[in-house]
Amino acid sequence: MRAYVHLLAMFGTLSLLSIGGGNAVLPQMHLEAVSGEHWLTNAQFADIFSISQAAPGPSILIVTLVGYAAGLTVGGVFAGMVGGIAATAAMIIPAAALVYVLTRFWQRAQKSRLRHAVEKGFAPLTVGLILATSLVMSRAADHDWRAYVLTGLCTLIFVFTKINPLIMVGAAALIGYLGVV
């Protein structure tokens, strides 16, 4: 029980602190889960990080695995599942409530100059941030030259053809599965 309470309190707090996305609070999460509570070893933390990065869905899902590991120390697999779900909910709900309030405010600002300026002015900024993200992503995934060639090829295909991107992702996964990249 104590582990669950700690999970909820810890991720509920980190949720509101995660300005700039989940990765911003990763160091603090590591500190509490590995050094503080010993739910995981250092190597396990690194492994679940790489699993959660490539898995589908929001990148925040490393939280689910930290919660799972915390639950495992309490009971068996079932306790782990409960821990994973509790941690995920604690991480999502506080921040989501805040975004809801902001969105409501934004709807009322429909015709304001501020909204017009934000929509026009933030667009180029965002494109720069996305380019930065893709650079950081490929570094974090520990890509070698073969992976970069694959990335380059896929980029050309995505820009110049209308092929469903999912087909390329599947093909790239197969190439990775076969150990080529």
């Binding site: 996305g21 925040i60 799972y68 300026a117 991107p165 390329m168 599965y177």
Partner: protein, 200 residues
């Protein structure tokens, strides 16, 4: 002076004709975000969000999507979770936000719990790791392609290109924390984009 009529048109267009708000069922909202989440195998969730929300469903236009993305980054929380709340709220209030969140998270949580079970049970999932590694190369490519596609539309002058380069260099190369990068660049971009009062 002869330019004036041309300049008024887009501003009126922006403020008076809102993008059509379709009536969308909660199920469709949840299903759409589920689709976005599952497509992002290997990463690239932002690129998939744009593909589905802007290109396929036309629930938002390009500028609205991009500005919402940056606002979702400023707010606490994972930015794709925030985007789901933003879109869900716009389409259907609190139930809409909950449906979008549920759709975005349910299957990924099931998937990652399964992975967690396998990992802690067997300590290693090498075949899956290889597949995820390969998929991530394509996911990065999808993100690059998004930069090229959105950049073509909004990098149409010297100032936007400078803003784009500055945010890339500060965030991607110098690795400033996002709040500081935005504290410097957001005011500049707002000054540039602020609708000028037209002489009567």
């Amino acid at each position: 002076m002869s330019k004036r009529t041309f300049r008024t048109i887009p501003i009126l267009f922006m403020s008076e004709i809102d993008p059509p708000l379709q009536k969308v069922s909660l199920f469709e909202l949840a299903w759409t975000f589920n689709h976005i989440a599952l497509a992002s195998f290997g990463g690239g969730l932002s690129a998939w969000s744009r593909q589905v929300l802007v290109v396929d469903k036309r629930w938002m236009d390009e500028e609205e999507f991009l500005s919402a993305m940056t606002m979702c980054r400023i707010m606490p929380g994972a930015n794709q979770v925030n985007m789901a709340v933003f879109v869900g709220t716009n389409m259907g209030g609190i139930p809409g936000a909950m449906a979008a969140l549920f759709g975005l998270c349910l299957m990924p949580v099931v998937f990652i719990l399964t992975m967690g079970y396998l990992y802690f049970r067997f300590k290693e999932v090498p075949a899956l790791k290889g597949a995820l590694h390969g998929a991530s190369a394509a996911a990065v490519a999808l993100t690059f392609a998004m930069v090229i596609k959105t950049g073509r539309k909004c990098l149409t002058g010297v100032v936007p290109v400078l803003l784009f380069l500055a945010s890339f260099v500060l965030s991607g190369l110098v690795r400033w924390p996002l709040p500081i990068t935005l504290a410097v660049l957001a005011p500049l971009s707002l000054v540039w984009a602020w609708p000028r009062k037209l002489a009567a």
